[in-house]
Amino acid sequence: MSFIEMEHLSHAYHAGDETERMALSDVSLAIEKGEFVAVLGANGSGKSTLAKHINAILLPTAGNCRVAGFDTSEAGSVWEIRREVGMVFQNPDNQLIAAIVEDDVAFGPENIGMAPERIRENVRCALAAVGMEHFRSFAPHLLSGGQKQRVAIAGALAMQPKCLVLDEPTAMLDPKGREEVMMVLKRLHAEGMTVVLITHFMEEASEAQRVIIMADGRIAAIGTPREVLTDHAAMQKWGLETPLAACLAAGLLKDGVKLPRDILTDDDLICALTGEEPCPSK
């Protein structure tokens, strides 16, 4: 059984109302334990709605969603699911609750009634995991965006979840902040964490093992970054950008240059054009 399983999941906002709007229609998908999955899509494509189902913040209006073996629609399993799945949101300012970093990180463990000594240990580990241990007594409003998001990640980690779902965590950050967050995510994944990253940035998506493209509330494509992100025409149709190397390769192909069709990274393009070294990434 997969860690996250969605079967024919649909979600309508304001269901039964005249303003009813389908945000997700008939989505089926499975994410394995320890996987790193990126979800891409233009605004309004349903990717945020999808993310919120994994943490049982939203419940399917049709179909079902199982996380860590629990059905999210069963009232009794909500807290179990939220212990297993930590969530990080877009706006770093609107998800930190306490006026001191370490108190904020302790918020989750406190809610699930952990013993104080264990909370202290978890908070310490979580802050160390995101490289923020020196800021434990800071006030959040004095931190940079990237630092705040790392604290938010620590807040999720302190509950020792098996999976992190991040809803555009880097959208409001500068390049340095984005890099900080991505480094943390890559390390956590290497240590066995299941990561579901919603993003607008193709460079971030190409770090994932699998990419899911959402369009109009449906899964438009699913596969490895190399399979999905290199399809220049389709990416444009979905309102997304193609990574630079893939974009250049598409242009060069049109100019009659002989190139493989699945060029994704700079290294791919360099290898293909100079042809001197064997391509290590494939």
Binding site: R83, F89, D93, E110, I112, G113
Partner: protein, 263 residues
């Protein structure tokens, strides 16, 4: 600039007062405030004043910061003194226009003003030596026994925590929105009062909208982190009474005995 305001007046340190349990500090403050009003004899005032001064010195908070905390109520103290000075009947010392200054008036005025000053200093000692968060925690614990009569202790404390967290953010935001509207030609400094009040709408509407959006986001973030009220919650920084607390209770009780004997 607006964004430079800091809230609370916590002065970080490691003094005896800083190390006391915040619950002890709150309860002792209430005790002493009561004493200031209940025991109005000269010796009691002398002891209380000496005690306050000693605590102020022990706190490690610079004197000028302590004195500055008097500033907002300086005028009140001054007028209270004046009214008592001029309106208390007794042995006349001098006559100014239609008023008579009496010896009792000076005494009364002095003691009433001293009372106010002690009040301010003692409360400031609490806020100077206790972080707002510790205060919130202590209030939650002190109010907990009243939960059965309907006092929402946890909810109040959670509200205070969130307020403490978001006040600086909202101040920064106000500054930004003001500047944005100024860039569209809005003027908050000129015109009649009515005009100035109207000029606030372009600031208040965006500010409220953003506050609601933040509240929405925050509620979701809290839920995602398993928040479900105070039931079954633990605390990382659980409060513990230490020897220091027991000692200070003892001292306070002894002082109370002394005050009663001086009555």
């Amino acid at each position: 600039m607006l964004s430079d305001i800091t809230i609370g007046q916590y002065y970080p340190g490691r003094s005896v007062l800083h190390r006391l349990d915040p619950r002890t500090k709150i309860v002792l403050l209430l005790f002493f405030l009561f004493a200031v009003f209940a025991f109005s004899s000269a010796p009691a005032y002398a002891i209380l004043s000496a005690l306050t001064l000693a605590l102020m010195l022990a706190s490690g908070v610079p004197m000028r910061m302590m004195v500055r905390s008097l500033r907002p109520i300086m005028w009140i103290i001054f007028f209270t003194f004046l009214i008592h000075l001029l309106s208390t009947p007794g042995e006349a010392l001098a006559k100014i226009w239609a008023f008579t200054v009496t010896r009792e008036g000076i005494e009364q005025g002095f003691f009433i003003s001293l009372r106010l000053v002690l009040l301010i200093f003692l409360s400031s000692l609490l806020t100077f030596t206790t972080s707002p968060l510790a205060l919130t925690d202590a209030l939650e614990r002190l109010l907990a026994p009243f939960r059965c009569v309907g006092v929402p202790a946890h909810e109040l404390a959670m509200m205070m925590t969130i307020a403490l967290r978001f006040v600086p953010t909202l101040i920064q935001e106000t500054d930004r929105i003001m500047k944005a509207q100024q860039s569209r030609g809005a003027d908050f400094t000129e015109g009649s009062i009515l005009k100035r009040l109207r000029a606030l709408i372009p600031i208040l509407v965006p500010l409220f909208l953003s506050a609601f959006r933040r509240a929405d986001d925050l509620a979701m973030a809290m839920e995602a982190r398993c928040y479900h009220g105070g039931e079954g919650r633990t605390q990382m920084k659980a409060l513990h009474f230490a020897t220091l607390d027991y000692v200070s209770w003892g001292v306070a009780a002894a002082l109370y005995g002394l005050f009663f004997s001086l009555r």
